[in-house]
């Protein structure tokens, strides 16, 4: 099941040239970017691991793309996203966030039903991959 999160989530995955164009758009507006990765892409997991600090003072997309590619090499079977911060309002607000890397195999989520008192049912989504230890979850076995 292909995970969709963030901006452009219903488009096919971007090529590097398209990612570069999006980065240029953000930089032209003065938004610094940062790279984050995770292997727990549950929709409620907001805080992904940071790949280095947010990149301030950059002028060209090449520098950001360099970090994205280094993160891809270091964490090949992880989800990787790019965040662009807009500091114009005096606080760090995410203006743009989209997935730039995903594992080759995405097993998806299952729906768990929990029966509680009075025949109530609680639902939760559970990623199949989360049954494996962190760091090992989306590795093609």
């Amino acid at each position: 099941m292909r995970i969709t999160q963030g901006t452009f989530s219903y488009l096919p995955d971007f090529s590097d040239a398209e990612i570069r164009a999006q980065i240029s758009y953000a930089l032209d507006r003065g938004w610094p970017l940062s790279v984050e990765f995770t292997d727990d892409p549950h929709p409620r997991n907001t805080y992904w691991e940071m790949w280095g600090l947010p990149m301030f003072d950059l002028h060209d997309a090449a520098g950001v793309l360099l970090e994205v590619n280094q993160c891809r090499t270091a964490y090949p079977d992880h989800y990787i996203r790019l965040n662009a911060y807009d500091a114009a309002k005096g606080r760090q607000t995410i203006a743009l966030s989209f997935i730039v890397g995903r594992p080759a195999y995405e097993p998806g989520f299952r729906l768990d039903r929990q029966e509680v008192a009075d025949r109530q049912v609680r639902y939760t989504t559970h990623p199949y991959a989360a049954d494996r230890p962190a760091g090992d979850r989306y590795r093609a076995s």
């Binding site: 002028h59 520098g63 360099l66």
Partner: protein, 308 residues
């Protein structure tokens, strides 16, 4: 289209498609940059000729690309050597602008750094620091002033070497995104390149900036005075030339930078001269005219001229 198709017999010499390089020139705005370079920078003939060669190559390359011919991206890393004040930084700035206009660089900004910006103070500090600077310079020109300080022969555990290795790697792999210009004194840069042959071979253009002749210095001075909105009185012209001739022979002469300082100090004396005579009625011309006295008060005229 391949080369063999272009050279097919029966077609007009040079292929069937006729186009004008002059149009491409006009579009890129190349001529304005080169003309501005020629006008604003006095002397520096070898530098200018090398720059127009590079510009011509990039122009032809862009035309080749338009016709689908293969164009290997030329290596444009450079080293600028020369005395202080010979315009290395200024030329680097112009170069960044030129490369942007010719489509070689995306942004065309200049990031000027020295050893302190690249080399860290403890283990593990250098690599992130150098990478940070490199990322900041991407899309533009990284200008490393006094690059020979990166390498300290007397200390083999110096972190400069680490910085050089990262630089080399990026200069090779990210050639599309970044142009590195190393600058410094000629002799010390030569030693630096001897110690780092990898660096030397990755730099395609070694450009030497010649020192200025007296005539050129005079011209630079006149240009600076004009830019500041002043003018030299006819007698002051002679004195200024004499000043430059004497200053040249003295130690710590920094070419155009010394000329700038001389003009700045003359401005200072000009201003205090006017302020010290409150009873005088001044015209606009008094405000912009530099007199011989403004130069003669200089320390340079107090020592006797060097004996030839």
């Amino acid at each position: 289209m391949t080369v063999s198709e272009l050279a097919e017999p029966g077609k007009a010499a040079g292929g069937e498609t006729v186009f004008s390089l002059a149009d491409a020139r006009k579009q890129s705005g190349l001529d304005e940059v080169l003309a501005a370079l020629d006008h604003d920078l006095v002397g520096l003939a070898p530098v200018k000729s090398r720059i127009s060669e590079i510009a011509a190559l990039l122009l032809v390359d862009s035309q080749r690309a338009a016709f689908g011919l293969s164009t290997a991206r030329p290596n444009l890393h450079m080293s600028f050597t020369g005395e202080p004040g010979t315009g290395k930084t200024t030329v680097a700035l112009r170069m960044a602008d030129l490369l942007k206009r010719l489509g070689y660089l995306n942004r065309g900004h200049l990031v000027a750094v020295t050893r302190e910006d690249l080399v860290g103070q403890y283990v593990g500090h250098t690599a992130p620091k150098t990478k940070e600077v490199l990322k900041r310079a991407m899309g533009g020109v990284l200008f490393i002033d006094e690059a020979y300080y990166l390498y300290r022969a007397e200390n083999e555990r110096d972190y400069g070497q680490e910085s050089i290795e990262i630089l080399l790697q990026v200069m090779e792999n990210q050639r599309d995104d970044l142009v590195v210009i190393l600058a410094g004194y000629k002799d010390r840069m030569d030693t630096f390149f001897q110690a780092n042959p990898g660096m030397s071979s990755r730099i395609a253009h070694h450009i030497d900036f010649p020192g200025y002749t007296l005539d050129e210095l005079d011209q630079i001075g006149a240009q600076m005075v004009g830019q500041l909105g002043y003018r030299l009185a006819p007698a002051a012209r002679e004195v200024f030339r004499e000043y430059l001739a004497r200053r040249r022979e003295q130690p710590r002469f920094a070419n155009a930078r010394s000329v700038r300082n001389a003009v700045e100090r003359a401005r200072l004396r000009h201003a205090s001269r006017l302020v010290s005579q409150p009873e005088l009625m001044l015209s606009v011309d008094d405000l912009i005219r530099l007199e011989p006295d403004d130069f003669l008060a200089s320390r340079v005229f107090q020592v006797p001229p060097a004996q030839p």
